[in-house]
């Protein structure tokens, strides 16, 4: 059985082996075929169900896709004292809002990627796992992430990088995570712009250094600075 799986893996993944432009197209085709075929096999009975209480509503992701992102985040940020759980920082909604900023074709690619990552047939073909990602054990989930991360096919590593970027950006962009990493947050600032120091006309700028600033106390800022007079933004241009 193991042998047969290996054999099939080689056969199916060969198109992705080169790293050229063409292989991207073929990889996309592979994903499409897997997702299409996956719907018609017994593996299709293994489906991820959207978790209740996911947050949302979502703009770009389906509840199912958001569920998969949450499951991935649970493994990228496993339980550790002081680190909020992904759901505590509203991670599915945060990932969704990042995905929603992307051009529509990119959104489509991300959604296809996350479904392929979760898909039981893809899991079977790529990693010999018969389950969707979300219904796998923790050990199986870590193994599946690692197999994408360490794949000899650059395209799977690209997929891993896309998922990793989104999850960590959503998670560590949340102020709730800052105490865990020892980041005190932005400092308070004095809003007034300091006066320009005298500067002789003929002085070569490289011959002098900037005046020494006083180091600001690093503590979280509460208030917003007083507005500085800027240029006006009229409602409408008048050609």
């Amino acid at each position: 059985m193991l042998r047969r799986t290996r054999y099939r893996r080689e056969r199916i993944l060969l198109p992705g082996e080169s790293e050229g432009r063409r292989s991207f197209l073929k990889w996309g085709l592979f994903g499409t075929v897997v997702l299409a075929v996956g719907g018609g096999t017994w593996l299709a009975t293994r489906r991820t169900r959207a978790l209740p209480g996911l947050g949302g509503p979502f703009v770009a992701l389906s509840p199912l896709e958001a569920t998969v992102f949450l499951s991935i985040a649970e493994r990228l940020v496993p339980v550790r004292a002081g680190f909020p759980r992904p759901m505590d920082v509203d991670l599915p909604r945060r990932v969704d809002s990042i995905v929603a900023m992307a051009p529509e074709p990119t959104q489509g690619e991300i959604r296809q990627l996350v479904r392929l990552f979760d898909n039981a047939l893809a899991g079977f073909l790529l990693d010999g796992q018969f389950h969707t990602f979300t219904e796998s054990t923790i050990e199986q989930q870590d193994a599946r992430i690692a197999s994408w991360q360490q794949s000899r096919f650059a395209l799977r590593r690209t997929g891993y990088k896309a998922l990793k970027r989104l999850v960590y950006a959503a998670y560590y962009g949340s102020p709730e995570t800052w105490p865990a990493v020892g980041y005190p947050g932005p400092p308070s600032i004095s809003p007034a712009k300091p006066a320009e120091p005298p500067r002789p006309e003929t002085a070569r700028s490289s011959a002098r250094t900037h005046p020494r600033p006083s180091a600001p106390a690093p503590r979280p800022v509460e208030e917003t600075p007083a507005p500085r007079s800027g240029m006006d933004l009229p409602q409408e241009g008048k050609p």
Partner: protein, 517 residues
């Protein structure tokens, strides 16, 4: 020549009807190149319209918050990267361009680079002597001066001390700031107006002299008529959704200055069907960057203080056939670092938990100088998205590996208790002897995090119209009224941070551009 219309910054996202402008000059892009050309042409009485895709963010409108800043102030909402995601690309998109969010590092162009351009690409008239007065002028206007060593932050001090102990070249960086409070938030745009970015300096000058700057106005097409561009078609962009509002801005100028940067300038030419010799979007260089994270016994607080103030050019010239690199530092904030550190799960969390004790240094490889190097490409996909490809040559992998080793040695020499590479399986180094472990690490795409904040090339200067895009005066070879003034005209990378080279070249080019209109 100049008309009565007052200069101002216009929020195109709020336009309620289509607009047509007929200035002398249309400048596309308001970054390091476009802003200076706009200001200098406006000062000479030319009527200037600037189109800028990004928004206008004066100091009181910015937040020291990464989750706000990257999607708001950066290209592709902070998600720009090569197509395979192997190289993350940081590039600003705002009034002021990347100068709004860069780390203020200011180097003049190394003379050996200018000599190389003259010898290999036949570029004439752009030498050290010609640029000297222009560098002096921009250094004066932008208050470019060395940062005092006494206030260099602890992360930069790691590079200073480490390089010192290894007896390597080291220097304090010159920065374009005035009244800097040493906050450490250059990358999310200066909240106190100290950074002398284009929006605070040359664009203010341009507006004073009558220039009209459209913020949230994306140039989508140049329309040709014979050997000239007759019109620039632009879309107004909604400031919240960043989608087109449906309002159009049509500019019919006598002359066009394309200053969109090394990705967006070639992109616009390609979208407009201009690529007569197949060289548009070719020879894209990135200074591909490898980073090194180190944990120290005492707090580094790398979040705070001027983010980049020390450099070492010890390995910039490594001899024939080798790619040089230079060493600098990077700010450490959670959103930037989280996706960049190697691995996932418990080990990743462990590294993140030490952020306050961490130093982040970078080695930037100097690409484009080997005869066989052709860099990356910028192209436009069939679905309309821009695409950046960059195949990392073996010589560049070698430079990245040696650069990583140099960074680890610096950090260990400065007293780091452990140094981590940014491989997916991080290489952990606790003594000098461990540095050799990097020789056995995998140097392949997506097995180690790579970055670029210096996109260059794509509309390369050169004498031969079949091998380059613009001539030595920055005019497109095959069109009579279009100049390209930004980092895209570099035929190679630089070996130093590019902003001041772009400032200097823009200041220089303004003189001869003014002479043709």
């Amino acid at each position: 020549m100049s008309e009565l219309a007052p200069g101002r910054i216009i929020e195109a996202g709020e336009l309620r009807r289509d607009v047509e402008e007929t200035p002398d000059v249309c400048v596309i892009g308001s970054g390091a190149g476009g802003a200076i050309v706009a200001a200098r042409l406006a000062a000479r009485g030319r009527r200037v319209v600037v189109l800028e895709e990004g928004g206008y963010f004066p100091p009181d409108k910015v937040k020291m918050d990464e989750a706000w800043a990257y999607p708001t102030l950066y290209q592709e909402r902070g998600q720009r990267a090569t197509a395979d995601l192997a190289i993350t690309i940081l590039q600003g998109r705002a009034v002021g361009g990347s100068t709004l969010v860069n780390w203020t590092t200011s180097f003049r162009t190394p003379p050996r680079v200018l000599r190389h351009w003259a010898e290999v690409y036949g570029i004439s008239g752009l030498d050290e002597k010609a640029l000297e007065p222009h560098f002096e002028a921009v250094e004066e206007r932008l208050h470019i001066a060395p940062w005092p060593l006494e206030v260099v932050n602890a992360n930069n001090r790691v590079l200073w001390e480490g390089a010192g102990r290894l007896s390597w070249d080291r220097e304090v960086i010159r920065r374009n700031v005035l009244g800097c409070q040493n906050l450490g938030y250059c990358g999310t745009a200066c909240p106190v107006g100290a950074k002398q970015s284009m929006d605070q300096t040359y664009l203010q000058d341009a507006v004073r002299d009558g220039a009209r700057i459209y913020a949230h106005a994306r140039a989508v097409r140049l329309e040709k008529s014979g050997r000239k561009v007759a019109a620039v078609q632009a879309q107004a962009i909604d400031p919240t959704t960043f989608k087109a509002t449906g309002r159009k801005i049509v500019v019919r100028p006598r002359l066009v200055v394309l200053s969109g940067g090394a990705v967006n300038s070639p992109e616009l030419l390609l979208r407009s069907g201009y690529d007569p010799s197949g060289r548009v979007g070719k020879r894209t260089f990135l200074h591909p960057v490898v980073a090194s994270a180190a944990v120290f016994p005492e707090r580094v607080d790398p979040f705070y203080g001027a983010p980049q103030s020390v450099a070492s050019h010890q390995f910039a010239d490594r001899g024939k056939g080798k790619v040089g690199f230079f060493l600098e530092t990077a700010p450490v904030h959670p959103l930037l670092v989280g996706p960049s550190l190697g691995g996932f799960g418990a080990e990743h969390e462990e590294q993140m938990s030490k952020l306050a004790y961490s130093s982040a240094l970078i080695a930037l490889s100097i690409d484009g100088f080997l005869p066989e190097e052709d860099g990356g490409t910028v192209s436009v996909r069939s679905d309309g998205r821009v695409r950046i490809d960059y195949r990392i040559r073996p010589e560049i992998w070698e430079a990245l590996r040696e650069g990583n080793k140099a960074l680890a040695r610096v950090q260990l020499a400065a007293g780091a208790s452990a140094v981590y590479s940014l491989h997916e399986n991080p290489v952990v180094m606790r003594t000098e002897a461990d540095v050799a472990l990097l020789d056995r690490a995998p140097w392949e795409p997506l097995r180690v995090a790579l970055f670029s904040a210096h996109a260059m090339g794509g509309c390369a200067m050169g004498r031969d119209p079949e091998k380059s895009v613009v001539d030595s005066r920055l005019k497109l070879h095959w069109l009579d009224n279009v100049f390209v003034v930004d980092g895209s005209v570099f035929p190679t990378s630089l070996g130093v941070n590019p902003q001041e080279t772009i400032f200097g070249i823009a200041h220089w080019a303004s003189d001869h551009i003014a002479s043709v209109i």
